[in-house]
C-alpha cells in the first residue's frame, strides 16, 4: 500500500497541469482578483444596464461603509495575533460610537475620534482584564462585553443625550469632517465615467469613487493597515507580540512578558474598534450616535479578518467586499443585488475554468455547480425581495467564509489561556 504522499507524487508525474500547482505570489493573486472582479462587474453592468454597479457613487459609499468594518477587523487582527479572541469588538465599537458622539458634538470631530478610540480601548482593557488576568473564556468575556457595551451606552444616552436631543436613542447632531477630493484628476475621471463606454467608464467610476469625498479619518484609517503590517511583521515588538499568539510558553521562556503584550494588543484592538465606531459617527452619512447603528459591523469585521487569513491585506480585501455589497444594496437593492448574482456567476465560471486547467476537478465542479445555482436564481427572478436585500453583506459573509475557511491558518494559540505559573 502506498502512502498519501506517494500517491500525490505519482499523480503529479502522470498529469501535467497547464499551470504549476503552486500558489502565485500574493500581489499576482491580488491583481488578478481585482481585474477579474472589475471585469465581471463591468460586463454585468453592461448586460443589465445598471450603471450603479460600478459608479463612483457606489464605490464612495462602499469605502465609507467598509471603513468601520476594516477598523474592527484590524482590531480583531491585533488581538488574535497576540492570542486573544475578541468577540467583544461589537461592544467596543458601540462604546466608540457613543464616545465619539459625546465628545464630537461638544468639541468637534477630532475630539470625537480620540474619545471614540479611548472608549473602545476601555472596552479592550476590560476584555484583557477578564481574559488575561482572570483567565475567563475569551468568547464568554466577549459576549458579556457586547451586552455591557450596549447597556452602558443606552444608560449614558438616556442620561446625557436625552436632555439635549429629546431622544434617548440618539445624540445631538455631531459636526462632521470636511471631505477632500483629488481634483482635477477626479473631474477627468468623472468625464470618462459619464461617457458610459464599456470597461473604461467602469474603471473610471471605481477609481473616482476611491479618490472622491475622503475625510481625514478615512485617510488616516487606511494608513493604519500598512502601519499595522509594519509594526506586527517588521519590528521586534511585533515579533514578540505575535509569538504570544503562536506559542506563549516559548515566548515566555525567551523573556517575552506574555501578559503585558496581550494587554497591549487587546487595548489597541479595542481602540481600533472604537475608532471604527467613531468613523460611523463623525464621517459624513449619519447625524450622530444612534442606538443599534453598528448593526453587527464588529462581527462582520471579525469575519473580514478570518476571510483575510489573519493578515492585514486580506482583511482589507474582505472589508471592501462587505462594504461594496452593503453600498450596493442601498442603491436600488432589489435590482442591483439581483444583478450581483450575474456577476458572481461570471466569477465562478472563470474560477471553474482556472481550476480545471490546474486539474483540480473537484473544485472546478463545485464552482460550476455554484454558477448553475446562481444562473437559475438569476433567470427565475426579476429582482430580490426588498426585505432580504439589506442582509446581502451577511449572506456574502457566509458564502465567502464557506468557500475560504479551509485553507486558513489562525495563530496557533489563539483563544487559549496562558498562565506562566501553571
Amino acid at each position: 500500500m502506498s502512502t498519501p504522499t506517494e500517491v500525490n507524487v505519482l499523480n503529479k508525474a502522470r498529469r501535467r497541469p497547464l499551470f504549476a500547482d503552486t500558489q502565485p505570489a500574493p500581489w499576482v493573486r491580488g491583481v488578478s482578483w481585482a481585474v477579474l472582479v472589475i471585469t465581471a462587474l463591468a460586463i454585468t453592468s453592461y448586460v443589465t444596464e445598471l450603471p450603479q454597479l460600478t459608479s463612483s457613487g457606489t464605490m464612495q459609499s462602499a469605502i465609507r461603509l467598509a471603513l468601520p468594518i476594516m477598523l474592527a477587523g484590524l482590531g480583531g487582527l491585533w488581538a488574535e495575533r497576540a492570542g486573544v479572541v475578541n468577540i467583544g469588538l461589537e461592544g467596543m465599537m458601540i462604546l466608540g460610537t457613543w464616545g465619539a458622539a459625546w465628545a464630537g458634538y461638544q468639541w468637534g470631530p477630532w475630539a470625537g475620534v480620540i474619545a471614540g478610540a479611548a472608549f473602545g480601548a476601555l472596552g479592550g482593557l476590560l476584555h484583557a482584564l477578564a481574559t488575561v488576568t482572570f483567565g475567563v473564556n475569551h468568547i464568554v468575556s466577549g459576549v458579556a462585553i457586547n451586552l455591557l457595551g450596549a447597556g452602558v451606552t443606552k444608560y449614558l444616552s438616556t442620561l446625557i443625550f436625552e436632555p439635549v436631543s429629546r431622544n434617548p436613542r440618539e445624540s445631538p447632531t455631531v459636526p462632521k469632517f470636511d471631505t477632500y477630493s483629488s481634483q482635477p484628476f477626479g473631474r477627468w475621471l468623472g468625464e470618462l465615467e459619464e461617457t458610459q463606454r464599456f470597461g473604461i467608464s467602469d474603471v473610471a467610476g471605481v477609481l473616482r469613487g476611491m479618490i472622491t469625498g475622503l475625510s481625514p479619518l478615512t485617510m488616516l484609517s487606511i494608513l493604519l493597515v500598512p502601519l499595522s503590517f509594519y509594526l506586527l511583521w517588521r519590528t521586534a515588538f511585533g515579533l514578540r507580540l505575535r509569538s504570544c499568539g503562536e506559542n506563549p510558553r516559548a515566548a515566555d521562556s525567551l523573556g517575552v512578558q506574555v501578559n503585558r503584550y496581550k494587554y497591549i494588543a487587546v487595548i489597541i484592538s479595542g481602540a481600533l474598534a472604537g475608532l471604527g465606531g467613531a468613523a460611523l459617527v463623525v464621517n459624513p452619512g449619519q447625524t450622530g450616535y444612534l442606538e443599534g447603528q453598528t448593526g453587527g459591523r464588529g462581527f462582520i469585521g471579525l469575519a473580514a479578518m478570518i476571510f483575510g487569513n489573519w493578515r492585514p491585506g486580506g482583511m482589507l480585501t474582505g472589508s471592501l467586499l462587505f462594504g461594496y455589497t452593503d453600498a450596493l444594496q442601498l442603491r436600488q437593492g432589489p435590482s442591483t443585488v439581483h444583478a450581483l448574482l450575474y456577476a458572481a456567476l461570471l466569477v465562478l465560471v472563470v474560477l471553474a475554468i482556472y481550476e480545471a486547467l490546474r486539474l483540480r476537478w473537484m473544485f472546478a465542479a463545485l464552482c460550476m455547480g455554484g454558477a448553475a445555482v446562481f444562473l437559475l436564481l438569476y433567470a427565475l427572478t426579476d429582482e430580490l425581495p426588498e426585505q432580504l436585500t439589506p442582509y446581502t453583506p451577511h449572506l456574502v459573509t457566509l458564502v465567502v467564509l464557506a468557500l475560504s475557511s479551509q485553507r486558513l491558518r489562525p495563530p496557533a494559540a489563539s483563544g487559549q489561556n496562558y498562565r506562566s505559573d501553571a
Binding site: 473564556n137 451586552l147 442620561l159 475557511s405
Partner: protein, 353 residues
C-alpha cells in the same frame, strides 16, 4: 460547607452583590436615591401581575438558556438562538394559523413545526462548522441577521402576513391550537407552556446525566483530544448538538404565541437569544442554576418598568445585568482557582505525611 455546593453558589452570590454595589455607585453619581431605587426594585414583585409576569418571562428565558447551554457544554457557541427562535416562531404561527386540527394534536403539530424549523436554521452553521471549519459565532450571527430579513419577507402581506393597524402579523391561530394557562385572578395568568420549560429542563438533566450522548457532549467540551481518542466523532457531535440546540431554540416563542398572542407579528419581542446566553452563563449550564438565573433575569427586567415610574433610567438594569454576567464568570474562575489551590495544598499535606 460542602465544597461542591460552595463553588456553585458562592460565585453568583458574589456577582450579584458586586453588581448591586457597582450600580449603586453609578446611581449615586447620577444623582438618584440609592436605597429608594433598590427598595422599589424589590417591592414591585408584590404588585399587580408582576410576580406572574416574572414567572412567565423566566419560562421563556429558561428555554433560551437551555438552548444555549447545550452548545456551551461542548464549547460550541450557538449565538444563533436569536435567529432560530424568530424563524421558528413565524413558521409555527403560519402552520398553526393555516390548518385546523383537533385541540391536542394542533398545538403538538405547532410544537413539532417550531422545533423542526429551529433545527433547520441551526443546521446551516452546524454544517459550515463541521465540514468547512467556519467558526459558529460568526456564522450564527450572520444567520441572525438573515433571519430578520426572512421574517420580514414572510410577514409581507402578499406572502403570509396580514395588516392590522400599524402592525403586520400572521393569521390568528384558531382556539384549537392555543394552550390555556393557570389563572390567578387579578394576579395574572401563568402560561400553560410553563410545563414545556419544565419538560425541557428535566429532559436536559436526563440528557446530560443519563445518556451516552450527554456523556460524549461533556467529554467533547472538557477535552476534545481525549474525546477524539475515545472514539467520539467530533463532526457528528457538532451537528447533532447544534440541531438539538436549534430545536429547543425553536420552542422559545411558543409560550407567548400559543398562550397569549396567538400570532407572530413584526413587533414580537427580540433579544431572547442574547438573554439566553447571559442566563446560561449565570446558571453555569446547570439545569437548576439556569432556572435560578432565568428568575433573577426576569426579576431585573421587570424592575426596569418600576424604575421608570420613579424617574430612574431603566437602563441601569441593563448595566446591572451586564455587570452580573461579567463578574459571575470572573467569580467562577476565581473560585475554581481557589479550589484548585486548596486541593493542591491538601494533596501536599497528605503526601508529606
Amino acid at each position: 460547607m460542602n465544597p461542591r455546593f460552595r463553588s456553585a453558589v458562592l460565585p453568583p452570590a458574589i456577582a450579584v452583590v458586586f453588581s448591586v454595589m457597582l450600580c449603586s455607585i453609578v446611581l449615586a453619581i447620577s444623582g438618584a436615591n440609592v436605597p429608594r431605587t433598590l427598595g422599589v426594585m424589590v417591592a414591585q414583585v408584590g404588585k399587580d401581575t408582576t410576580a406572574v409576569d416574572i414567572v412567565n418571562s423566566a419560562a421563556v428565558y429558561y428555554l433560551a438558556a437551555v438552548a444555549v447551554a447545550i452548545g456551551f457544554q461542548m464549547n460550541l457557541f450557538n449565538i444563533g438562538v436569536e435567529g432560530q427562535y424568530r424563524v421558528a416562531g413565524i413558521v409555527a404561527a403560519v402552520v398553526g394559523g393555516g390548518i385546523a386540527l383537533p385541540p391536542v394534536l394542533h398545538p403538538l403539530l405547532i410544537i413539532v413545526a417550531a422545533m423542526f424549523t429551529g433545527a433547520a436554521w441551526a443546521l446551516i452553521p452546524a454544517l459550515l462548522k463541521a465540514y468547512r471549519g467556519v467558526h459558529e459565532v460568526i456564522s450564527t450571527i450572520m444567520m441572525n441577521a438573515i433571519a430578520l430579513g426572512v421574517t420580514a419577507y414572510l410577514l409581507r402581506v402578499d406572502v403570509f402576513g396580514e395588516q392590522r393597524g400599524n402592525n403586520v402579523s400572521t393569521h390568528t391561530i384558531p382556539d384549537s391550537g392555543t394552550v390555556g394557562g393557570f389563572g390567578f385572578g387579578s394576579g395574572g395568568t401563568v402560561f400553560g407552556l410553563l410545563l414545556l420549560s419544565v419538560v425541557v429542563g428535566v429532559g436536559y438533566w436526563m440528557l446530560l446525566n443519563r445518556t451516552r450522548f450527554g456523556f460524549e457532549l461533556i467529554a467533547s467540551g472538557q477535552s476534545p483530544t481525549a474525546a477524539a481518542a475515545g472514539g467520539i466523532n467530533a463532526k457528528r457531535m457538532i451537528v447533532s448538538t447544534m440541531l438539538i440546540s436549534g430545536a429547543i431554540a425553536g420552542l422559545i416563542s411558543l409560550p407567548e404565541i400559543l398562550g397569549r398572542d396567538h400570532q407572530f407579528s413584526l413587533t414580537f419581542t427580540a433579544g431572547y437569544g442574547f438573554t439566553g446566553i447571559a442566563v446560561a452563563l449565570l446558571g453555569r449550564n446547570h439545569p437548576g442554576g439556569i432556572a435560578f438565573g432565568a428568575l433573577l433575569w426576569a426579576f431585573l427586567d421587570r424592575s426596569g418598568l418600576a424604575l421608570d415610574n420613579i424617574g430612574v433610567p431603566r437602563e441601569i438594569v441593563t448595566i446591572m445585568q451586564g455587570a452580573i454576567v461579567l463578574s459571575v464568570v470572573v467569580a467562577y474562575e476565581a473560585v475554581r482557582r481557589m479550589d484548585l489551590a486548596a486541593e493542591k495544598a491538601e494533596v501536599g499535606e497528605v503526601v508529606a505525611q
